[in-house]
């Protein structure tokens, strides 16, 4: 399948959560996966094994060069952490990029900046649409979230998500 043209800029959460599900390779469906330098250090600290295959997965480790005043202005409003800040600076630098984050504040800030943002669950489910994983494979991953990952999601909401994916044709 042809890769999409979207440039993904990753926050630490989805990298860690996808690795916990042994599913980091799902990100290879994107054209380019940028890991901001600060995020790289966060992942290295919390889940170093997630970066063991970074070269195979063509992760690009990058520091933000342009610092957006809008991101600086949003930082105290949303209490953005260093990794989230750098990821958002890079999103502003790379037009039409996609931020992947599981942090609500970072997503709110992304919305304010007009930056598209999605989380681990979106990345997992997207693979059905992209036909890189079967529905049953994705359902298995979704069911493994509470026991296999550090991603917190209310049990009844996860059940709703699973139901929605099951019903999707």
């Amino acid at each position: 399948m042809e890769k999409t043209k979207a440039i993904v800029i990753a926050d630490a959460g989805p990298i860690i959560h996808l690795d916990e599900l042994n599913s980091l390779s799902l990100l290879t469906g994107f054209d380019k996966i940028i890991i901001p330098e600060t995020v790289w250090h966060e992942v290295q600290h919390h889940r170093p094994q997630a970066l063991h295959h970074a070269a195979d997965l063509a992760f690009v480790r990058l520091s933000a060069l342009d610092f957006s005043p809008q991101v600086d202005a949003l930082t105290p409003i949303y209490t953005l952490h260093a990794g989230e800040q750098e990821a958002l600076h890079l999103c502003v630098e790379f037009k039409n990029s996609l931020l992947i984050t599981d942090d609500t504040a970072a997503r709110l800030a992304a919305k304010s900046l007009g930056v598209a943002a999605h989380g681990t669950l979106g990345i997992l489910v997207r693979t059905i649409r992209e036909q890189t994983r079967s529905k049953s494979e994705v359902l298995e991953l979704l069911r493994a979230i509470p026991t296999q990952t550090t991603l917190h999601i209310r049990a009844s909401l996860l059940a709703e998500v699973i139901c929605k994916v099951e019903k999707n044709t």
């Binding site: 609500t104 709110l108 997207r126 649409r129 998500v161 994916v165």
Partner: protein
Amino acid sequence: MTTLVETKIPDQLWQQAQNMVQQGWINNMDALIAEAIRRYVESHQQLLSERFIQEDIEWGLHGED
């Protein structure tokens, strides 16, 4: 660090809050207001995060990159 704010609160609600402070449920009105705001922010944060998850699923299943 704290911020001084001025706000209008309905009389009846203010009275109820004062009663709670007087009865010792909370130390003072500053603490009560801070606690009320904190709870509001936290609860809406959860609602937002759940809405984002719903958006993720919709995008994952039917969206475009």
